[in-house]
């Protein structure tokens, strides 16, 4: 199953882009195939093996290269919805699972990819990558603006 079928936007073949599988998919979202089941809402993911999988700041540069946040549950080998920019709104409980917070996100705070996956408000060091993911718009919304990972000194 190729997720290139669901790309929005334009390609070399014309302005209409590729075949649209889901016409209701917003322009800020994609529907890639998930590598594993049970990944939570809001989890930062990276691209690997034609699928998306959990990103982590303490792995490789590619593993720390966040392509977006999951906005639906995942089942291994099936499509999930992933947003790559814009506001991602979840419940405070869902953010607490992903960001290790209590009561949701802290408004105005920059969140980064965490060691082992998920989000953290701490700037990592010790060999991990600093990979900014977005800024908390409110306790329930993150303005998703993923940036390239920057290596730190071990």
């Amino acid at each position: 199953m190729s997720d290139t079928q669901i790309r929005p936007g334009i390609g070399s073949g014309g302005l209409s882009g590729g075949t649209v599988v889901s016409r209701t998919l917003p322009p800020t979202a994609l529907a890639p195939v998930a590598a594993s089941s049970g990944l939570p809402h809001g989890l930062p993911v990276c691209r690997s093996g034609g699928k998306v999988t959990a990103a982590a700041a303490d792995g490789s540069a590619n593993a720390a290269s966040v392509v977006g946040l999951l906005t639906t549950p995942t089942i291994a080998g099936e499509r999930a919805i992933m947003q790559f920019t814009g506001l991602v709104t979840l419940t405070t409980e869902q953010w607490d699972i992903v960001a290790g917070t209590s009561g949701g996100l802290v408004e105005g705070t920059q969140y980064y990819l965490n060691d082992g996956g998920g989000l953290t408000a701490s700037v990592l060091a010790g060999g991990s990558y600093i990979a900014p993911v977005g800024v908390a718009w409110s306790s329930t919304a993150l303005l998703l603006l993923p940036q390239a990972p920057i290596p730190t000194t071990p």
Binding site: P8, S12, G17, G18, P27, R47, N62, F84
Partner: protein
């Protein structure tokens, strides 16, 4: 011809059906699809990561256009080209490397590199996007920063 006429939300929209994350400015020269471009002289021109200004991109060309013509420039979302087209932009082979970030090249104007430029002054790190597959890039342009020495 002023490209202010086609600013999304502006008073004179010539191309109301522009695809998402796409603008339609005039190009200084003819560039192949996938070329990272900056804003210059009311047009867009090939970017080069040797100064902050030259490395500040507005997107990637999505289709070919001749010098002085309007070109589709995509500043977000997936841009899909052939592997051969990407190879021409990256000096690579077999297309993009899935999962890898690509940056504006500090060696060749209008090209991309998967290796962040280094060397300090005169070499800027300007992330452009992540390879979604050998044929597609998820465009996530970011401000350039001077590289580590």
């Amino acid at each position: 011809m002023s490209d202010s006429e086609i600013t999304p939300g502006g008073p004179h929209i010539e191309a109301p059906s522009l695809p998402p994350f796409t603008i339609n400015p005039i190009t200084l020269a003819s560039y192949p699809p996938g070329t990272p471009v900056k804003r210059s002289g009311g047009k867009v021109a090939a970017a080069l990561a040797t100064s902050a200004a030259a490395a500040t991109i507005v997107g990637l060309t999505a289709k070919h256009a001749g010098a002085g013509e309007r070109v589709y420039v995509q500043f977000g979302g997936l841009l899909t080209l052939t592997t051969e087209q990407w190879d021409g932009i990256t000096d690579g082979s077999g297309g993009l490397t899935e999962g890898a970030y690509y940056y504006v090249s500090d060696a060749d104007a209008g090209e991309l590199t998967a290796t962040p430029p280094s060397g300090g002054a005169g070499h800027y790190v300007a992330p452009v996007g992540i390879a979604w597959s050998p044929e597609a890039m998820l465009i996530l342009p970011q401000a350039p920063i001077v590289s580590a020495g």
